[in-house]
Assembly symmetry: C2
Homo-oligomer: 457 residues x 2
């Protein structure tokens, strides 16, 4: 019997036990945002470390940070010729408000209609345990065909404030060939898919200053340059009529979609109608020449996220404002670089803001886009794994959102992240009645077994 077969059989006969272990883990209310749950956070980290210790991994530790601890553990018996995979995950969960809208206690996991309901089930304790159980199943009869390093943090839901420093301090420890980010999902319960690209972000706040204090618009309207009018002009100038972003060199580094990619994206179930329904709008817009799915996932954007100037209460106040503020973010696609975008925006503002208006530009959030080469071994191994388990072809998709840790890992460790997780779009992440499909938990374990095994071949 092959190692793979043995592992799959072990997983199959252990189904109930594995689910019990997941339920145990889900009962720990490891809410990172609320200080009163700090002991739970610690307990979740310790529980994880004890699981990894059972595999006799090296250096298994719950490592302190300025915030919540990080769980680490490594396996290197596959040898130097086998790839080393950094498995990223997080053991912290979102708060449970509004608690009234839960049909069962968020920390008393309950199975209904084939779904396991609990806070953190899909985001992402279910996925961590799936990976652990794949490793356990494989190790039951064989050594692993790959080297593994677990990096499981407890602050993902609060923006990973300690992760960057941790990674910089432990750069050597974290060296790897690629990252497997299990905080991900597939398109549908019977629709296996691979997310092979994510957008990055460059999020700025721009403040424009005109007169030193607010003025009366009757007395001064006319000769005085109004920063609120100027900010509107500047924002308007950022896009042309076809929806293209006009910052200098904005598209220089953009990797255009290939014909094959466009064909693949066209096969996804996300039609124009689907986008309208999901966004609850009655017409779509954006850059011409691309489908809605392409515009949402594979093209860079420029969106105003916040606007403020002058008087915004009820009624009228005849104020000529001293200041105008805009929060503006750009979603970036491979290989755009948020630092270059900052420079480009600075040049653009210099050109477009008239004398008499001073301004400040600050970075609010910067993250590199991510993508993997579909011809790489890791991508092919993932696709073969999913196709083996589901018995059907994988759909190739890209995400419009940003996973900052993917950008951080690229920046600090220099490696790409394979998004390989088993959440579903309707899993109610961050919302009441979060769930994880039990069948997908088992398929996830199987997929990770196949995935590891595909490197042995």
């Amino acid at each position: 019997m092959s190692s793979r077969q043995a592992a799959l059989e072990f997983a199959h006969k252990s189904m109930e036990d594995f689910l019990e272990d997941l339920i145990l883990f889900l009962k720990i209310p490891s809410i990172s945002m609320l200080a009163e749950h700090d002991p739970d956070i610690r307990m979740a980290a310790e529980w994880l470390a004890s699981q990894i210790e059972k595999f006799r991994f090296n250096d298994v530790a719950v490592i302190s940070t300025d915030g919540h601890p990080i769980v680490y553990g490594s396996y290197d018996k596959a040898g130097k010729n086998a790839p080393t995979i950094l498995v990223y995950g997080h053991y912290d969960v979102q708060p449970v408000d509004p608690i009234d809208e839960w049909d069962s206690d968020p920390f008393m996991p309950q199975i209904r209609n084939g779904n396991l309901y609990a806070r953190g089930a899909s985001d992402m304790k279910g996925q961590i345990v799936a990976h652990l159980k794949a490793v356990e199943s494989y190790l039951d009869s064989s050594d692993l065909p790959v080297n593994i390093k677990y990096l499981i943090e407890g602050e993902e839901e609060i923006g990973s404030p300690s992760l960057e420093n941790f990674m910089k301090q432990h750069e050597d420890l974290l060296q790897c060939d690629f990252c497997l980010n299990a905080d991900s999902g597939i398109l549908g319960v019977d629709t296996p898919s691979l997310t092979y690209a994510l957008r990055g972000i460059a999020y700025f706040e721009i403040n424009l200053f005109g007169p030193r204090s607010d003025l009366h618009s009757g007395t001064f309207g006319g000769p005085v340059i109004n920063p609120a009018n100027v900010i509107a002009q500047v924002i308007a100038a950022m896009k042309d009529e076809s929806g293209r972003v006009m910052l200098p060199g904005f598209y220089d580094d953009v990797v255009e979609l290939s014909t094959v990619e466009r064909e693949n994206l066209a096969q996804l179930p996300q039609t124009e109608e689907w986008w309208k329904e999901q966004s609850r709008t009655n017409a779509l817009g954006g850059e011409t020449g691309y489908s809605a799915t392409e515009r949402a996932t594979s093209r860079p954007t420029l969106d105003v996220n916040g606007l403020f100037s002058g008087y915004i209460g009820k009624g009228s106040k005849t104020v000529l404002p001293a200041r105008a503020m805009a929060k503006i973010s750009m979603r970036l696609v491979p290989n755009q670089d948020p630092e270059k975008i900052h420079q480009s925006l600075e040049i653009f503002l210099n050109e477009h803001i008239p004398a008499g208006i001073t301004w400040e530009l600050s970075d609010l959030s910067m993250a590199l886009p991510g993508s993997i080469d579909l011809d790489s071994t890791m991508a092919k191994s993932a696709v073969r794994a999913l196709e083996s388990v589901w018995g059907k072809s994988v759909l190739y998709k890209r995400e419009g959102g940003t996973v900052p840790v993917v950008g951080l890992i690229k920046e600090i460790l220099g490696v790409d992240s394979l998004m390989l997780g088993f959440g579903l779009p309707d899993d109610n992440l961050h919302a009441p009645n979060e769930k994880f499909h039990v069948k997908n938990f088992h398929r996830g374990i199987q997929s990770y077994i196949h995935f590891m095994n595909n490197f042995a071949n």
Copy 2:
């Protein structure tokens, strides 16, 4: 001795008494904004009515409204061939906060360096009493050469909420040849001037609605039309590069400045440097082809007074906003009509707002611009009066601000308003240490005597 000479002599010998009466009036804390001062409001109205009663005017009354009462009284002995002048004023005053910054009690008038310090001294009890004392001086020896109707309200500092209804209900009572609005001033203590035009206003709130609720800018950025970007584009499109307003037909009704007017305005002490200093900016802007003073007083404007969309707190929130709001006001010049501007804005919005974005347009404040014919008898009488008292030429100026009552009187009674008052630019209106120049109080009385008398000639 002429009637004028007799009146001027009476005024001269009564100087101290007149000032005492003004001080009495100023001691009444008739703050319209604060309900605890309602008895003071009533007392100020009664005091005024008692003054007018002494002249044996007709119909003298303190007339109730839904808010504070209006003081009325009329004089018609000048006969049908003499003009009837509606004298507009207000007896209410602003609150006194910040009280700590006053050098003397705001309701214990004090004379320092030739100025009378008290709340309401310049805005505008000093000017009402000046007019009353001119009438008293004239009546001491002669009948008045003009008919007069006093219309003195108690709600000017809270936006005159009862005035429009009152005027509509008493349209017949208020019939007149023109209005003398004493709530006005001159350029400097030794610089007599006539304000012959005021700007009107059309102030709107525009709300744009995109997706039915805020969306995640990563998931939906691209295909979804962002109302915050759209509002910026719409506002930017409202002006061309030379600062001209692009609403259709916006300039159709604008009365262009004559060569003489431009020469007159160029003689005012308001240089470009002065405008920079006053507005505390280091560069001016606005419509090309006009001086700063012209842009501030004689050209229509379009200013954003308020902007709001999305997330405006600290840091970043990746929101694609459901709504964007702008408050936008246009200052209007003769003969622009705020109703036509509304229609024009509606057409403009229809043209510029894309499908998928719904919108609402609401009027916040509408007032007609005002101007008087400098060749009219009232204007010439005013100029001759000022030149007689000051012994020097009058400067002709226009105001950038709006006096809503001027528009209201034009709309309801169909007459223009002559702005003839004696405040100074540094009188600290609405601020601590409000003052009225004592010399100007007496010059004001003299000017009103001359003004009336000029109709007798």
